[in-house]
């Protein structure tokens, strides 16, 4: 289990929130919204494998085959 991915996700979160703030201040709410969505999608793509592992583990622990 790699701890790096947590820091990566945290950094992306901080960046997206700052970009969101900057864009909202400049009066471009729709692009700010788009940025937030992009951030969410990128983070989801990064964690989708981990979520898959989690479900597999849960299944194997409770013998839900």
């Amino acid at each position: 289990m790699n701890i790096d991915i947590i820091f990566k996700i945290a950094a992306i979160g901080i960046l997206v929130s700052v970009v969101n703030h900057v864009l909202t201040r400049a009066g471009r709410e729709e692009i700010a919204m788009l940025t937030t969505l992009t951030g969410v999608v990128i983070v989801l793509l990064m964690v989708v494998n981990l979520i898959n592992d989690l479900f597999n583990n849960v299944r194997s622990i409770f013998r839900l085959y």
Binding site: I12, V19, V22, L23, A26, G27, R28, I42
Partner: protein, 173 residues
Amino acid sequence: MFLKIASSITIVICCTLLGMQMSYRYKQRIYNIRVLQSILAHLETEIVYYSTFLSQAIRNSIRTLDGDWKTFFIEVADNLENKTEYSLTEAWNKSLNKIQKNPCVGKTELDIMYRFGLQLGNSDRQNQKKYFEIAQQQLKIEEENARQLHLRYGNMYRSLGLLLGLGIAIILF
């Protein structure tokens, strides 16, 4: 590891420079409009009070100024002197088409100058003076607009460039 850090720094620097370039456009546009106003003021004096030939009047009015519009006026004067076009309007529009591609020149100024070029040299002095005044007024409004756009988007592009560079570097790291 070293390669990773070096390429990340390169990405951040490139994106920051791109953002600064985008914000520089807004600044340069204000400057261009201001220069255009003083060129027109000079040109008005040359035409209304001195009655110089137009090509010479243009050359006199741009002598001390610079900016992106200077090349436009130099081209118009060249075309007039070399007689490469049939009329002033044609020479004017030909040069306008060239300056259209410049990112530091807005579409509204181009429109103003296009309409001004249609009227230039078509009537007597009093009328010409009127057209100069109209163009100056419109340019003044446009300068104010450009200033507001700069305040609004100039800072945004500068910080956005840096932040997007950081974002790409983090995602790729």
